[in-house]
Structure formats: C-alpha cells, structure tokens
C-alpha cells in the first residue's frame, strides 16, 4: 500500500515539476505578454495541481494536513484564473495588443471584443 502511494507521489511530483519548469521557460522565452500568460497558466493549473496531489498521498493519516492541502489547491484554482483574467483585460485596455502574424485577424478579434 505504501509502495503504491509512494509511486503515485513520485509520478505526480515529477510530472508537476516538469510542468513547472516548462511553464517558467515559456514565461521567459515567449515573445509577448499574452503568450507568456498562456505559459503561466500551465504552472498554475497543472504544475500546482500535480505537486499538491503528490503531497496529498504522503499525509500519512494527518487529516488536517490533507484538508489544508485541499484548501490551498481550491484557493489557487479559484484565484489565479480570476487574477489572470483581470490582468489580461487590464493589459488589453491599456494598449497591449497581442502579437499576431495575421494583422487582419487581429483587427477582427478586437472588433468582436
């Protein structure tokens, strides 16, 4: 049983770490604000989720710890999309245009907005 839990933890933690690093590389390397935002999303959802899940398998009967981990996860999943959305909106209102290869499509989207 413990071996199974440990195995699950290893998988979740390693995958989570992988997504964290991928997200950060994207944050550093992508060309403009909106694509960077996409990379940041990977960290918040997959990275944080997997790492916290990985930790949840290790609580070892301390239910209060499990509860705290769950509330952290709930909190992150609730707040970070909200703040990202507000951030994107604020950036768009302040003349931060997305960088697109196709300028026409860009205009169209702006008109639809």
């Amino acid at each position: 049983m413990t071996v199974l839990l440990d195995l699950l933890s290893w998988v979740a933690l390693l995958l989570g770490s992988f997504f964290l690093i991928v997200g950060s590389v994207g944050l550093l390397r992508f060309p403009d604000f909106f694509t960077r935002m996409h990379a940041a999303g990977v960290t918040d959802s997959l990275g944080a989720g997997l790492i916290l899940f990985g930790l949840m398998f290790q609580v070892d009967g301390q239910w209060i710890v499990l509860f705290k981990l769950l509330s952290i996860l709930f909190f992150i999943w609730l707040t970070s999309p909200a703040s990202s959305h507000a951030l994107a909106k604020a950036a768009l209102h302040h003349n931060q245009q997305p960088l697109l290869g196709d300028e026409v499509r860009n205009r169209k989207q702006a008109a639809n907005e």
């Binding site: 933890s9 933690l13 964290l20 944050l27 604000f33 960077r36 960290t43 790492i51 916290l52 951030l87």
Partner: protein
C-alpha cells in the same frame, strides 16, 4: 537520506523560480512583471508546502495558505492602483 521525492521537487521549484524571477527583472511592460510575480507567488506556495514535508513537519501549511491569499490580494492592489494612476497620468 538519499534522494527523496521532496528534494527533487524542491530543486525543480527553485530552478523554475529563478526563471520566473528573471522575467520579473526583465519584463518590458509592467504587466509582464505582474504576471511573473503571480507565477512566483504560486511557486512560493508550492515550495513552502514541499519544504514542510521535507523537514518532516507538514503542519506548517498555514503559511502556504496565507501566502496564496496574500498573493491574490497584492495582485489586485497592483492592478487597481496602476490602472488608476496611469489613467490620471493620461489626463494630464
């Protein structure tokens, strides 16, 4: 102690923190910096949680929870006052 899963995760989080903080230093526009800070905050929460397990005292997760909360509040504060003062500067 050997390689525990927590130490591997700690190293990964540290590496990704270094990358994110670089974006916060460079970030051409202010929004890039805010985004980097948001990501950095999430990573800090994770690092606190993992460190709790690494040191064998996971009952200190309260700090991680607090940080998740403070991160959200300060991002809102940044956006609010930035929007306001840039709109005032435009009027002038």
């Amino acid at each position: 102690m050997g390689i525990s899963m927590f130490s591997v995760t700690t190293v990964a989080i540290l590496v990704s923190m270094i990358l994110a903080i670089t974006r916060a230093f460079l970030g051409p526009s202010l929004y890039d910096r805010v985004l980097a800070i948001n990501v950095l905050g999430t990573k800090t929460v994770l690092l606190i949680a993992v460190l709790g397990f690494l040191m064998g005292r996971p009952e200190f997760l309260d700090i991680a929870l607090l940080y998740a909360l403070i991160n959200f509040i300060s991002i809102i504060g940044l956006m609010r006052f930035f929007e306001y003062s840039s709109s005032r500067q435009e009027e002038k």
